[in-house]
Symmetry: C2
Subunit: 347 residues, 2 copies
């Protein structure tokens, strides 16, 4: 039974989702979002209506489970919203499409503060706006821990989708965005070298023996908490004639493995051509870690990897890192990349 | 780290999702589904591509949480798949659209048998096919309990969406499909008057003092486990000129309340006009319950309620149950329906 509004502040503590109830929570979320446009139907009806001018729609859904994909003590709600949006919007971009809409499924315990949900939605909407997408609908439910189910939609603009299966021997392999930075940020958090959620500087002293202030790694922490995929590079790659494309979510080597398998080629990464990242190298030195391993296996940066015909004139934000060749699998400097595995959510 | 295929049967027990790992599980799911059509891109790429010939797409997402929306000991996996699909597809139909696609987000503990997931997907695909929709993509993740996040897409066929806000005084209020049957089925399960999941007859003896065999209520148990919304009635209502429409998911009175509020009208239900349902009345008599309360407040049948201009010639599967009038809120036989509340997921 829904509780009356009078209970909202009855205990003098943070208002919780149980205080607001299902419909109150939906109203609180809707209040943070722009109303539906003249063409669309927004939050509050049975379903949303989103423009799909291409006549096809790109659709993807991803789950984020508390304790597995995020920790509320390591990331603020706004950060989690940004990250949840980013990983779905990057999937849309990786098809060569422009994101148009986001839907939010939120399962939460009743004692979750409404302010946390509001910050989550703000982060989701902010990252959506960066990619050109609006939050148009969703669902809320009770649960024992927080779980997010995000759906992103996108429009192909009349172009063919860029799948994983079109890479051909001789194609150039290129990456837009960086890899390994989210993994480095996570390693810094695990080492206790991070501040409170949302802070860009450290609020915890560095562990003994670790040189330098953790604040020098604020960029890596931000990369972990709020990945910023290069969305516009997705449609750009399609226009440039990309033969295959993928969002790097599980690690460069692992995700290139999917492209190699689907395309029936070998993808060789030349480590000397990976974009330089002084912050990544410094963090690796501070933690006794291997920056190259982070760059090859670290997930959740949501860079885009694509293959292009050899004569393609690529803009500078596409770093050529290797070549597609006859064969199978992924090689690093021509050696098999076995063992450079990504993340398995059930392992 | 993904485990090798060799571990699949190493313990001589049911193969679990942890045995298969993330990519093995996705492959097992994909094997149950038709390959992507020539126009679309199916499971296994960054995102799916779905036809949206209307140039707009209808999109909705719903969560189903174990222990809150379903119990694995009360419903089989196939039933849960049917129900999860049905509640989303009904939301699409309630906009006047034809369902086109489903996406499945599945969070599951590692010890969940793969066979359970396969049955879930079969149920999802079966109900999707009944509505004209294909399962085109999704995501899997580990979690402590089973949670489903279903997204459904649909096409408006060139028509305006039928929202909740267009009902006008004088409109006829009509329902396609029945209400209260899922609630009756749940009450029978709670009373122990049900068989094993998936069984149509009883495997448990009736409680002492309850007259008649529980098998006589097999239809109500099926309505609870595998609701069958009248999907085609959604586009039909739009073509007939429906002024508003909603999917009855939280209970007839509660959901009509949303339409009344959005449209700025009073909706009066005449109980004498509710469709007769001998099975519902018999179950109420057997359990000492009130069939009318079930019909007015029971959720999850996913009937469609719509308002039509008074002169509309309605086919027989639309039962006229009342009238839209000036005023606000929902009345039952002209008396306020306060207290006939629906389900709050956080209460």
């Amino acid at each position: 039974v829904p509780r009356g509004a009078g209970s909202k502040i009855s205990r003098g503590v943070a208002i919780t989702v149980a205080d607001l109830g299902e419909f109150g929570l939906i109203a609180a979320i809707a209040a943070l979002l722009p109303a539906g446009s003249a063409r669309g139907v927004g939050i509050g009806d049975d379903a949303a209506v989103v423009g799909a001018p291409d006549g096809r729609v790109v659709a993807t859904t991803d789950l984020l489970v508390e304790g597995r994909h995020f920790r509320r003590d390591w990331s603020g709600a706004s950060d989690i919203g940004v990250k949840a949006a980013a990983q779905n919007l990057a999937d849309v971009a990786a098809m060569g499409a422009s994101p148009t809409a986001l839907l939010l499924g939120l399962a939460a315990p009743g004692d979750l503060p409404v302010a946390w949900v509001e910050d989550l939605v703000r982060g989701l909407a902010e990252e959506g706006a960066r990619a050109g997408a609006s939050v148009v609908g969703g669902d809320v439910s009770g649960a024992d821990s927080v779980m997010l189910a995000i759906t992103a939609l996108g429009d192909l603009g009349g172009r063919d989708p860029v799948t994983r299966s079109g890479a051909r021997p001789g194609d150039r392999l290129a990456v837009a965005g960086r890899t390994g930075r989210s993994a480095a940020g996570l390693a810094l958090l695990e080492a206790g070298l991070a501040g409170a959620p949302g802070a860009v500087g450290p609020s915890v002293a560095p562990a003994p023996g670790v040189p330098g202030p953790a604040g020098q790694f604020a960029g890596l922490l931000a990369s972990h908490r709020r990945p910023q995929p290069p969305y516009a590079c997705g449609p750009e790659a399609a226009i440039l004639g990309a033969t295959s494309m993928i969002d790097i979510s599980d690690g460069l080597a692992a995700d290139l493995g999917h492209v190699a398998e689907a395309s029936g080629v070998r993808l060789d990464v030349e480590t000397a051509r990976l974009p330089g990242d002084p912050e990544l190298r410094a963090a690796a030195a501070a933690l006794g870690a291997d920056w190259l391993r982070w760059a090859l296996t670290g997930g959740e940066d949501h860079a885009l990897a694509a293959t292009f015909p050899p004569q393609t004139d690529l803009p500078g934000h596409w770093a050529v890192i290797g070549t597609a060749r006859r064969g199978r699998g992924v090689t690093v400097d021509s050696r098999p990349a076995d063992g450079l595995r990504g993340w398995d959510h059930f392992a």
